[in-house]
């Protein structure tokens, strides 16, 4: 069974082809992300500027490359198409949704619009198909900071989310105010790694008894400390990162104690942060700990294909129906609203 995934919810354009041969295992046959491909290969040398325009120009060449790389002779060989229909930037989402609808309509391959956060969670299933459930999953990126209890492939309970800024947004903005080069998050981590010890300390926000997060106050404190000359960029980066990760780990540990999951998952772009991975591995204790490989943590289409596959497999695999193309892009779509327990 062949599944095509399409993702355009934010900055990345991605197209992937997955193959299912049984059980929960999905083989990633191709998972192409526009920003990681040589521009001339994609656009013949011309690099388009920004945002939705970029998606618009990248999505068709990516589809063609995936087809070539996987020796697919005809799109009609597909069994399912999955596309991110939210949450995200509405203009960006629309590009992927329109491309997916057009392909579905032209080929009569069934289409499902899936939730981007659910996609991130499904990246853990791509990494470890038979991971023990329930899983507590921390989804952290530039746009999201969600703590989700995953009871099965379709039942998600959002235990906590950010009350203000996403953690990745905090990393990017603090990096900018410290004068660190782009990309902000990885460069902040690098700057922090040069510091062994500093007297500078930011108290982590305490959101108890909820499992929510807050990073805006920390961002303010870090920016102000730097302006007041209380530390070097490296020291401020270190103190900021330590405080942010402590808050994430503390809430995660509280949720583990209360909900007793069997697995701890970590996914989303910020999962690339080595200090966060170490902290979460420690928080996991005796639980299984799953972090997908970096390409599956960043925004990618393989995770979207996987989410579409599990939905379709467990909810009576759809045949093509034009009525199923009526869904729209949704810029706001909390993960628990995407929870669809198996009937």
């Amino acid at each position: 069974m062949l599944i095509l995934g399409i993702e355009t919810s934010c900055d990345e354009t991605s197209v992937a082809l997955l193959e299912h041969r049984g059980g929960n295992a999905l083989e990633v046959r191709a998972n192409l992300i526009a920003s990681q491909i040589e521009a001339h290969q994609l656009f013949g040398g011309v690099v388009p500027e920004i945002a939705s325009r970029k998606h618009l120009e990248a999505v068709n060449p990516l589809l063609r490359l995936v087809k070539e790389q996987t020796d697919l002779s005809d799109w009609r060989e597909l069994d399912l198409i999955g596309v991110t229909s939210g949450p995200g930037l509405s203009g960006a989402l629309l590009v992927g949704v329109a491309a997916a609808k057009a392909l579905s309509l032209a080929t009569r391959v069934p289409l499902r619009g899936v939730n981007h956060i659910k996609g991130h969670i499904c990246s853990t299933f791509l990494e470890r198909p038979d991971l023990p459930l329930p899983m507590l999953c921390l989804v952290v990126s530039g746009g999201h900071s969600d703590l989700v209890l995953v009871r099965d492939f379709h039942t998600f309970e959002r235990l906590g989310r950010t009350r203000d800024d996403a953690v990745g947004e905090g990393f990017d903005k603090v990096a900018r105010s410290l004068g660190l080069p782009l990309p902000g998050g990885p460069n902040l981590e690098r700057a922090a790694a040069t510091v062994q010890k500093t007297g500078l300390r930011f108290t982590p926000s305490n959101m108890e008894p909820s499992f929510d997060f807050s990073f805006s106050g920390l961002k303010t404190a870090a920016t102000q400390a730097f302006k007041k000359g209380q530390g070097s960029p490296q020291e401020v980066a270190y103190a900021f990162q330590t405080s942010a990760l402590t808050q994430l780990a503390r809430q995660t540990k509280r949720a583990i104690e209360q909900f007793q999951p069997r697995t701890l998952g970590l996914c989303g772009g910020v999962a690339a942060n080595g200090a966060l991975r170490a902290k979460m591995a420690e928080a996991a204790g005796d639980l299984e700990f799953v972090v997908p490989t970096p390409i599956l943590c960043t925004d990618n289409a393989a995770m979207i294909g996987a989410a579409a596959f599990f939905e379709a497999r467990d909810h009576e695999f759809p045949s093509f129906s034009i009525d199923d193309l009526g869904f729209e892009a949704r810029s706001v779509w909390p993960i628990d609203a995407a929870s669809q327990p198996v009937p």
């Binding site: 920004i50 509405s90 203009g91 999201h144 203000d164 302006k227 810029s331």
Partner: protein, 143 residues
């Protein structure tokens, strides 16, 4: 009319936001400026509360525009932080002009300087200034 206020603590930022929020009318366009860490999030949250909005007001940096409907007026909260250097085509794709045209709502715009070439005149301009020691707010209201 421009007023300069000192904001000795977070409570003062909140009090200012509550006062502005209580005076807002449908169609008002509010510019909210200030560097990272100046307290714009706090201001936006309290302004929303003054409008009677019950939901948490989270950062719109990622989705660009968030809409809240539980208050006495709809609130559209836009963050132009990521819109720097975009042309009018891209801004249209991002829904920015739809935001500007929503006269039924209060429109709160953070980082207006990022989209300075495309803006219409505001009804309010709030700038939070922070020099590393003290915070001040410059508040301008159209006549």
């Amino acid at each position: 009319m421009t007023k300069i206020l000192t904001l000795p603590d977070e409570a003062a930022t909140r009090a200012l936001a509550a006062s502005v929020g209580a005076q807002l009318q449908a169609g008002d366009l509010v510019y909210l400026s200030g560097e990272l860490g100046a307290g714009k999030t706090t201001f936006a949250q309290e302004l929303a509360r003054a409008l009677g909005i019950k939901e948490d007001v989270t950062s719109p940096t990622f989705t660009l525009i968030l809409e809240y409907e539980s208050g006495r007026l709809p609130l559209l909260h836009c963050d132009a932080y990521r819109l720097e250097d975009l042309g009018s085509g891209e801004l249209a794709d991002a829904g920015f002009f739809d935001f500007l045209e929503r006269r039924d709502a209060v429109r709160l715009l953070e980082w207006p300087e990022m989209v300075a070439n495309f803006l219409t005149a505001p009804n309010w301009k709030i700038e939070i200034l922070f020099d590393g020691e003290a915070r001040r707010a410059s508040v301008w209201k159209s006549d």
